[in-house]
């Protein structure tokens, strides 16, 4: 028996500078159910290519009819950015599943993104605030490890994924077939989040991201230590530290890192955080303590780690204050906004320092200074001389190659599908997975469909009475060993039951028919019938020790329910005919007996 198999589609950005900014959108059909995983957008485009091509899913017909549900793994825009467009503009009214933190933070990011696109760049044909609100109304929030029944057959379950607050991996299950989609995940814990974890759920397919397919990273501690040391030293010498960050995710990690360090070392230097988006987000971080790491979870009763003591809101005027300070400012690549303003003010002093905690796209100020440029041309032909120290610290929250392998090992899937990465790197990982874990691995291109056959196991209900009866006959059933069982399989209303034959007859209202086999065995024996029967009896008795062999008064012999009669055919007195008769149920024993009798009786002692 074969299941209906999977169709797996995905879209990914072609080219582009970083793998992180692709748009994630995967369609899975599993046992007749269609599930869309993530609904991301591409940050690099400003036209239609920004959103996935949803017409690909159904050429004609409504999306709601075709899709059973949509699952969003976390709040990054490359995983959820196209959601309002998809649900409100293309039109989808089915359920959207995400975790509680994602549900809380996602609209803030979408709104922020909308503002930049519409208000600043003046784009038309973009979703509105109302659409975001309407879209979020369709969202069903799930808890970790909560099994949500989407409909009668389809169920989903969320696992912790690390990466960002509220990021989850999802198990999608229909009957005995299941798929796990990881979204983005992190196998090493950081200062505010724990490591991804999954049980041995043995799915048919594991869809995993592979951003760092060819990287094995160094331990986080060195990087953290370096970061803290740099900041500490600069501040000690009276310098100012600028840390350009994106508003969510890494920013919180760095805040916690600095906050705890300040606390530990009893430092008094002010730390500022540019306000706006972050304050709202921090508010949610405070609320979702169960989603954070062990340390924060354990200590939040005394003090919530996100209630920063040392980190205060930043005001534009503070940048000119004398004395040391640390400022987190957005955006992360120094291309515009507050971070760039502060950078321009501080760049001239060699005591100061800027720390770039993430990747910078080519063309941004961040990229220029990281590649060692010391003289920057600003708008209006100004030349800015950069004297401040420039540092680079990479804090990435994706699993590296080892982490991916570890997760695959934990979940023990039958097949692995790599998405969200570069083809060349995925090739390496694919080879490794097949070699070391002996799991078949796929890496489809954009728009490509992969179909996987699954061996379907069909659950059959068995009546307790029958099971107990069969158990009583033999020893304990051994684990993982097949065992023979007699019963009747009833298929009714697409469910299967195994019951004892009597019950089946009763249920179906059928009369019982007996099927008997009879067989004649010719024996050379000159003695009388009775004596032959007696000889047969003693012979069988000596061989069949476990069975009940009886000699009946009418001269016949019974072995269990098998009847053996000796008769003398009239024509030949030298041979006797043994009539052996058995029911269908005793076929095994019956055929054994006949073959035994055909060999003849042992020479009787005279």
């Amino acid at each position: 028996m074969y299941g209906t198999g999977f169709g797996c589609l995905r879209w990914l950005a072609e080219g582009g500078a970083g793998q992180d900014v692709g748009r994630s959108c995967i369609l899975v059909s599993i046992a007749g159910k269609n599930v869309m995983l993530d609904c991301g957008m591409h940050m690099g485009f400003n036209d239609d290519r920004r959103f996935p091509d949803f017409s690909y899913i159904t050429q004609n017909g409504r999306l709601t009819d075709f899709l059973d549900c949509v699952i969003i793994s976390h709040f990054h825009l490359d995983h959820c950015g196209a959601l309002p467009y998809f649900s409100e503009m293309v039109g989808y009214d089915g359920p959207i599943y995400m975790t509680h933190p994602t549900q809380a933070i996602c609209p803030i990011l979408l709104e922020d993104y909308r503002k930049i696109a519409v208000d600043k760049k003046g784009e038309a044909n973009f979703f509105t605030s109302q659409m975001i609100k309407d879209c979020m109304k369709k969202v069903v929030a799930v808890h970790l490890h909560q099994t949500v029944q989407v409909d009668d057959e389809l169920e989903i379950k969320a696992y912790y994924a690390g990466h960002v607050l509220g990021a989850a991996m999802f198990q999608i299950k229909v009957g005995s077939e299941s798929v796990v989609y990881t979204g983005d995940y992190n196998m090493t814990p950081d200062r505010h989040l724990g490591a991804a974890w999954i049980d041995k759920c043995r799915p048919n397919l594991l869809i995993t991201e592979s951003t760092y397919a060819t990287t094995i990273r160094d331990s986080k501690r060195c990087r953290e230590r370096d970061f803290l040391k740099k900041v500490h030293e600069t501040v000690e010498h009276g310098g100012k530290v600028l840390i350009p960050v994106f508003a969510l995710g890494r920013a919180q990690e760095l805040c916690i890192l600095l906050e705890t360090f300040w606390e530990r070392m009893n430092l008094k230097v002010p730390i500022y955080f540019s306000t706006g988006l972050t304050e709202k987000a921090n508010h949610y971080y405070k609320l979702f303590i169960p989603w954070t790491n062990q340390k924060i979870r354990k200590t939040f009763v005394q003090r919530n780690m996100f209630e920063f003591k040392h980190i205060k809101a930043f005001d534009r005027a503070f940048a000119d204050n004398p004395g040391p300070m640390v400022v987190f400012a957005t955006p992360g690549m120094l291309h515009a906004g507050q971070s760039l303003q502060i950078f321009r003010k501080w760049a001239g002093n060699e005591k100061n320092m800027v720390i770039m905690p993430g990747y910078c796209v080519q063309g941004t100020v961040g990229h220029k200074i990281l590649s060692g440029q010391r003289k920057l041309e600003m708008e209006g032909r100004q030349v800015l001389e950069v004297k401040m120290q420039v540092e680079y610290m990479s804090f990435s929250a994706h699993a590296d190659a080892k982490g991916i392998m570890q997760l695959v090992g934990q979940a023990e899937p039958e097949n692995v599908l790599l998405v969200h990465g570069e083809a060349k790197k995925m090739e390496f990982l694919k080879q490794k997975i097949e070699q070391e874990l002996r799991v078949s691995c796929y890496m489809p291109a954009n728009g490509e469909t992969v179909t996987l056959p699954t061996s379907l196991s069909i659950p059959v209900g068995i009546s307790l009475g029958l099971l107990k009866r069969e158990m009583a006959q033999g020893l304990l059933p051994e684990a993982k060993k097949p065992r023979l069982l007699h019963g009747t399989l009833i298929m009714k209303d697409s469910n299967f039951r195994l019951v004892s034959s009597e019950q089946a007859l009763k249920e179906l209202g059928l009369a019982e028919h007996q099927l008997r086999f009879t067989c004649r065995v010719h024996l050379h024996d000159t003695r009388k019938e009775q004596e032959t029967a007696l000889r047969v009896y003693s012979h069988l008795k000596s061989i069949l020790k476990e069975h009940c062999v009886q000699h009946l008064p009418d001269g016949s012999v019974t072995v269990e329910s098998i009847l053996i009669q000796a008769a003398a055919p009239s024509e030949d007195p030298g041979t006797k005919v043994l009539l052996v008769s058995w029911t269908y149920q005793d076929e095994e024993l019956g055929s054994f007996l006949t073959s035994l009798l055909k060999k003849g009786l042992p020479q009787a002692p005279s």
């Binding site: 041995k200 160094d218 803290l228 390496f428």
Partner: protein, 952 residues
């Protein structure tokens, strides 16, 4: 006065008589106890419903049963068991049977047959499991009876096929606990077939129920614990269980693999899918390492812990645990550790990190990269980065143990340990600092490592800083820059946290004495001397300057060229510091000065033996006490005590012993003196005044005996007996003195309770007393006193055997120092917190015994119980108390001093062993915590305080 005294004694006397009556009453109660079984029988018969019966049984279980009545109770229970239909009642009875068979003094073999009998007929799985548990209790009670053990094992094997996991669990437990060890014994075991217990248990490794699998592994471990040698074949079975779905199975399997690896470290096992073979211990090590990245943190902790104790593993495998090949885009990358090392060895230190500094270098051969290493690769790297701090701590501990046994590994793991100094959880940081200290004799810190280590000095936690000071005391630093760096950071620490002063000075003392040659080139800079100009004389009271001097002077001790660099005032400061901080500043051989102490120091070492001899001789001299006249005895004692005291002062190692014996001799001296008093010959009414002396002596002896019993660690039972004996004599003396004025002896008799504790001591007071016991009990008080008096006089001096190791408990209050002239002002009625910091030496169980006492000028005394968390244990026999004491008082007109001191509380009844029946009944906790008395054991410190009246 006399009338008053008389009244007092009467009061006490009458009170005591009442107590005696109570005692008799309890004895009566005891007599009624054997009827308990009958009561139970009646109760059970009365019970109308199973719930009722259950209630009775529960009530019954609350009270202990005496050994002699156990059998009766068991019979009744069994009888009821047969009649009972309700499984829950049967379950309770079964559990009671188990509990009863554990009673000391009861031999449960008589109920075993019955237990096995009812087991055969039982249908309920739960009751079956409970019965098997009972059998286990019986079996463990009779470890030497082979036949019974065989029989029980047989029973267990029969029920192994039960469908319920609970029953199978218990069966396996039984097999594990009772399975026979030697096969030869079976012959006399009534023909019961021998069973290969190991094989039977091993078969259940593949049971369908994870709980049974766990029980099977546990049973196997139990067999190992009982001394049965496990077969090597188990190893392969256990390895399969490592990939079990259930964490408890995996966790137990890890333990089993560890056990086998310790049993057969050197045997050879093949590596699957290749022709190679490796040692079993290496293979097991690799497997356990793999479990460090298991999905369940329980297993991870277990695995990380066990790694630490696998010392036989070959160094090749060991070093792999710290190895993690980095790559980026398929190109090889160096770790930050490697880069740091390289920077250091190339002579360039601490360059700023540049973009692309960690750029990947050579291409990696894709085929050669192994992402999931089968071996030990990176186990510790993972363990130290784990999400759960429990795993990290376990990993640090394991690192410590492995590093202690392998110096090369210690060198390698240094980078990782240093990294752990920045862990987010303080406990982990502290643990890694301690670990580093333990392995510090194997390592030398590189400058960049030292830099990271020193950065932690700014930590706001006092524990961390002090642990780090301890670490610096015993680290080896490789360069003079390192020393300079350490000094600068320590001074920074000193300005930031002035309370660390003592700890920092001590740290610098060791740092100086360990690295004299590295300090030498730094001296001019540190003392800021100039070749031509005289510089200003630094302030002698500056703690930072003292710190620098401590470092230099300690280095100068082994570096004779150094004093030449000193300027004049340095010599003066040396003389001053040598006097005021003699424990930090060593004696130096300075030009133009005579060195007194250096000649002494070697001779002390050689004298060690003679001083021991001297101690012995002076103690032996005292044995002849018996044969001397009282005058001579007194003199002998007096000068022996003097000798011992002097010896204790001179020889710190023998101080404990000397003090201990001196105290004992002093007691004896007091006793002799008291008995020499003339008062005994004078008629009663005349000596009232003189009796003060005798009663004071008695009181003092009592105090001294309490000190001897509770203030010394290492006192053994034989000494305690002698001390008790001395106390008894003191009590007798007290009685005689009081009884001469009044008439009464009840008090004494009531205090003789510990007479029974004392073994038969030849010729002693007790010995004689016991002989006279019948007479004492019957005779009149006056007569009793007379008897006591003569016995006391005749009793011989008991020789006190010396324990091997004995130390006197002592405490020093570091803070408050008691020097401040500024009173601590606070509003009356409110509280003020006073920080108390003290070191305790040789105190056993300080959490329960050490108290802080505050004495107010009005005589009011307050006793404060510090929290258990306030005690730290920095080293063996040493404790540190850092706590806060809250003071409060009504308003004063003048500031005044309060006294703070530490007390050692004791409770002599805590030494009496408790009743073994613990499981059923509740224990009254107040017995353990009550304080009988206290001994002050630190010098009091005066604190100036001033409660102001509240302003309205």
């Amino acid at each position: 006065m006399a009338a008053h005294l008389k009244k007092r004694v009467y009061e006490e006397f009458t009170k005591v008589v009442q107590q005696q009556q109570e005692e008799i009453a309890t004895k009566k109660l005891r007599l009624t106890k054997p009827s308990k079984s009958a009561a139970l029988h009646i109760d059970l018969c009365k019970a109308t419903s199973p719930a009722d019966a259950l209630q009775y049984l529960l009530q019954f279980a609350r009270k202990p049963v005496e050994a002699e009545s156990v059998e009766g109770v068991v019979r009744i229970l069994l009888e009821h068991y047969y009649k009972e239909n309700d499984p829950s009642v049967r379950l309770k009875i079964a559990s009671l049977l188990g509990l009863l068979s554990k009673t000391t003094g009861f031999s449960p073999d008589c109920i075993m047959d019955d237990a096995i009998n009812i087991l055969q007929n039982e249908k309920s799985h739960q009751v079956l499991a409970q019965l098997l548990d009972t059998l286990l209790a019986i079996g463990t009670k009779l470890p030497e009876n082979q036949a019974i053990q065989m029989r029980l094992v047989d029973v267990a094997c029969q029920h192994l096929t039960d469908t319920s996991h609970g029953v199978r669990n218990k069966c396996l437990q039984l097999l594990g606990n009772l399975g026979s060890l030697e096969k030869s014994v079976t012959k006399d075991a009534e023909g019961l077939a021998t069973r290969d217990v190991q094989k039977i248990i091993g078969d259940y490794f593949s049971d369908q129920d994870p709980r049974v699998r766990t029980a099977a592994i546990k049973a196997m471990l139990q067999l190992h614990e009982r001394g049965l040698k496990l077969h090597q074949t188990i190893y392969n079975q256990a390895c399969k269980l490592l990939s079990d779905d259930y964490e408890q199975v995996r966790s137990a399997a890890v333990q089993l693999i560890w056990v086998v690896s310790q049993l057969y470290p050197e045997s050879i096992v093949p590596i699957p899918s290749s022709n190679e073979e490796i040692r079993l211990v290496d293979d097991a090590f690799g497997k356990i390492c793999h479990m460090v990245s298991d999905g369940s943190w329980v297993v991870r902790v277990q695995a990380a812990k066990l790694l630490g104790s696998m010392e036989q593993v070959s160094s090749h495998f060991l070093e792999q645990t710290l190895d993690k090949k980095l790559m980026s885009d398929l190109r090889r990358k160096r770790t930050a550790h490697e880069r740091a090392k390289e920077l250091y060895s190339s002579g360039e230190f601490s360059s700023g990190r540049k973009w692309g500094d960690d750029a990947p270098k050579e291409e990696v051969d894709t085929g050669a990269v192994n992402l999931i290493e089968s071996g030990a690769c990176g186990a510790f790297v993972h363990g130290l980065e784990d999400e759960m701090y429990e795993v990290r701590i376990a990993a640090v501990e394991a690192l410590c143990m492995l590093a202690q046994s392998s110096p090369s590994f210690a060198e390698k793991c240094l980078d990782f340990l240093v990294d752990m100094f920045n862990d987010e959880i303080e406990e982990v940081r502290l643990q890694s600092i301690h670990t580093m200290r333990k392995i510090s004799n194997n390592i030398t810190l590189r400058e960049d490592q030292l830099d990271t280590v020193l950065a932690v000095l700014e930590d706001s936690s006092r524990d961390i800083r002090e642990a780090l000071h301890e670490l610096l005391c015993c680290t080896n630093v490789s360069t003079k820059e390192g020393i300079h760096l350490a000094l600068v950071e320590l001074l920074k620490n000193l300005t930031k946290y002035p309370t660390d002063r003592d700890s920092i000075w001590k740290c610098l003392k060791f740092l100086g004495s360990r690295h004299p040659t590295l300090v030498l080139p730094l001296v001019p800079e540190l003392l800021s001397t100039h070749p031509f100009f005289d510089t200003a004389e630094p302030d002698m009271d500056d703690p930072a300057y003292i710190a620098v001097l401590v470092l230099i002077f300690n280095a100068a001790k082994t570096c004779p060229t150094m004093p030449a660099l000193f300027s004049d005032h340095t010599f003066r400061h040396y003389a001053y510091l040598r006097d005021s901080l003699s424990h930090l500043v060593p004696a130096l051989r300075l030009p133009g000065r005579k060195l007194v102490s250096s000649a002494v120091s070697p001779s002390i070492i050689s004298q060690e033996d003679p001083s021991q001899q001297f101690l012995q001789q002076s103690l032996e001299r005292v044995y002849s006490l018996q044969h001397l006249d009282p005058q001579g005895a007194q003199e002998l004692l007096e000068f022996t005590i003097r000798d011992l005291q002097r010896l204790g002062e001179l020889q710190s190692e023998l101080a404990g012993v000397a003090d201990f014996s001196a105290t004992y001799l002093r007691c004896q001296l007091l006793l002799i003196k008291a008995l020499q008093e003339k008062l005994w010959n004078v008629a009663a009414p005349l000596y009232l005044k003189q009796s003060d002396l005798a009663s004071a002596a008695a009181k003092q002896i009592m105090e001294e005996t309490y000190k001897m019993e509770f203030m010394y660690s290492g006192v053994e039972n034989k000494q305690v007996v002698i001390i008790h004996h001395m106390r008894l004599q003191a009590k007798a003396l007290q009685l005689i003195v009081t009884a001469r004025t009044t008439r009464g002896c009840g008090m004494f008799l009531s205090k003789m309770y510990f007479i029974t504790d004392l073994p038969h001591l030849q010729d002693s007071f007790v010995d004689k007393l016991l002989d006279l016991m019948p007479r004492l009990m019957t005779s009149k008080p006056a007569e009793v006193v007379k008897i006591l008096q003569t016995t006391l006089r005749q009793s011989a001096f008991l020789h006190l055997p010396l324990p091997e190791q004995i130390h006197k408990a002592s405490a020093t209050i570091i803070e408050p120092a008691g020097e401040s002239d500024n009173p601590l002002r606070f509003t009356s009625g409110l509280v003020v917190a006073l920080d108390v910091d003290a070191t305790l030496e040789h105190v056993q169980d300080p959490q329960n015994t050490v108290k802080v006492q505050v004495l107010y000028p009005d005589g009011q005394a307050q006793m404060i119980h510090p929290k258990p968390a306030d005690f730290r244990n920095p080293g063996p026999g040493r404790h540190r108390l850092i706590t806060q004491v809250y003071l409060s008082h009504t308003a004063w007109t003048e500031p005044c001093q309060v006294e703070v001191r530490l007390l050692l509380s004791y409770n002599s009844s805590a030494r009496i062993p408790k009743c073994p029946w613990m499981e059923g009944g509740e224990v009254s906790p107040q017995v353990e915590t009550s304080i009988e008395g206290t001994i002050p054991f630190s010098k009091p410190v005066k604190v100036y305080i001033m409660p102001k009246p509240a302003r309205r």
